[in-house]
Symmetry: C2
Subunit: 273 residues, 2 copies
């Protein structure tokens, strides 16, 4: 059995940031496997003490130091997680002093603070974007494309839908999508309905082998999924993008986060909340 | 005009982690406003040098140090971002040495490394979860609820759809949702169709005032949106959850991340990729 060390991602909120940065660090080490656990909402000294005790027990069972990645704002809660039998990596405490010095101001140390928009306003904004993206998935409502922040265009299964939803949830971007059908692909020009919105169009393409694999999972042995058809569709879509000088990226080896942030960057879009 | 300091979130990948942790730190300071910019995909020395020059120019224009939050893995790219005229907060370099020491192993310093599942496998898994959640939005396909990891139940506009999509995208969780209609709410028991899946049900509730506000945006002056009706529906839904001892949370003051991570935690769900 391979050696496995315990790693905890601990936060007073969702734990998403502590987990993400902690994992970035852990992927740099090859020989160890990690037993990972994310523990959100550690926002009182009592919860922190209870957790510290549990981690201390794990340390004794494992006969080695668990790694504890934390991003906790309140000083007393942080202090309760100062576990001698663990290696505690504190993403908050490490940097806050340096920032206080540079900004000439004490940190307020309040949890869940948000500047500007209220939580409710942010929520409403994201929901509006999600609803917009859901209602404009697969080109169902073309008449109000002028409201879109971006319109993703690509062949079936090139990654449009999850990318639109991620753009809406993560950035509050109203993302419509338009699937290029075999009929659209017969001509080298963009479908007429899209022409007025050319400046908002972003193309998605994909390696034909990968497309063949994805489509075969869905409709095995169909013309739709055949290697020949996938190759032809991808070629024609890319020609169309080039013909109109529409920017496009390949989704093949990218995570949804990478596709979305590339589009944000290349289309000069900013977070909407 | 209020004083505004420049803050850059710089990454060799998407920038989401650097931005998120950087913002957590910045929200602790009240008196300053920040000009924030996220710069992803700084993965070569050349790109880093170009950016360093730009940040140095900003420093001279601002007459004060820009804040630069980075999570860059390669040492030479990091070195190129060592900008004397800025305060550089390096999320990677600060901790990697400590981890190397504890783990008795040198960091591989490779960008985009992923242990276990390949990017493609992860992608497929998330897409499957997204498609599942889309196909089971608003209870449209009840026959295969046994495939769901979790079934969110709540009145119309209590936050089910965005939470399901977030659970699918962020955690690879197959999340179905069932909207409690006025007909369902007439009885104190869960709709019959849900009873076999009771153990997978998680309730969402919402403050009636907030629900009234959200519904009024959608259908002003309707019975659906009326304060009386919102209060009654929320009461009846909560009674139903209590009757069946179904766990439930209020979405009122929570972000989508907080709702989703609370459900992950309370329903003992684990990330699926």
């Amino acid at each position: 059995m391979p050696h496995r060390r315990s790693a905890f991602f601990v936060s007073d909120r969702t734990g998403i940031t502590a987990e993400s940065l902690g994992n970035t660090l852990l992927t740099q080490f090859d020989t160890e496997e990690f037993k990972r656990e994310t523990i959100p909402f550690i926002d009182t000294v009592e919860k922190a003490q209870e957790l510290a005790q549990r981690i201390d027990e794990v340390a004794r069972e494992d006969h080695e130091k668990p790694l504890v990645f934390t991003s906790i704002i309140k000083a007393d809660v942080r202090a309760a997680l100062n576990i001698p039998s663990a290696l505690v990596i504190d993403f908050f405490e490490t940097f806050i002093g340096e920032l206080e010095k540079e900004l000439g101001e004490k940190a307020t140390l309040e949890v869940g603070k948000a500047h500007g928009m209220s939580n409710e306003e942010k929520y409403d904004h994201r929901i509006e974007a999600v609803n917009y993206s859901l209602n404009h998935d697969d080109g169902v409502k073309l008449k109000d494309l002028d409201e879109a922040d971006v319109i993703l265009v690509g062949v079936s299964r090139s990654g449009k839908t999850p990318t639109c939803l991620y753009l809406a949830l993560q950035y509050g971007i109203k993302a419509a999508n338009y699937p290029l059908t075999p009929e659209d692909l017969g001509s080298p020009t963009l479908p007429k309905i899209l022409l007025p919105f050319k400046s908002k169009i972003f193309g998605l393409t994909i390696d034909p082998n990968r497309l063949h694999f994805i489509r075969s999972e869905r409709r095995p042995d169909s013309r739709y999924a055949s290697m020949d058809n996938c190759r032809r569709e991808v070629n024609e879509a890319e020609s169309m993008f080039r013909h109109h000088a529409v920017p496009f990226i390949s989704t093949t080896h990218k995570s949804i986060e990478e596709i979305a942030s590339t589009i944000m960057h290349k289309a000069h879009l900013g977070r909407r909340f």
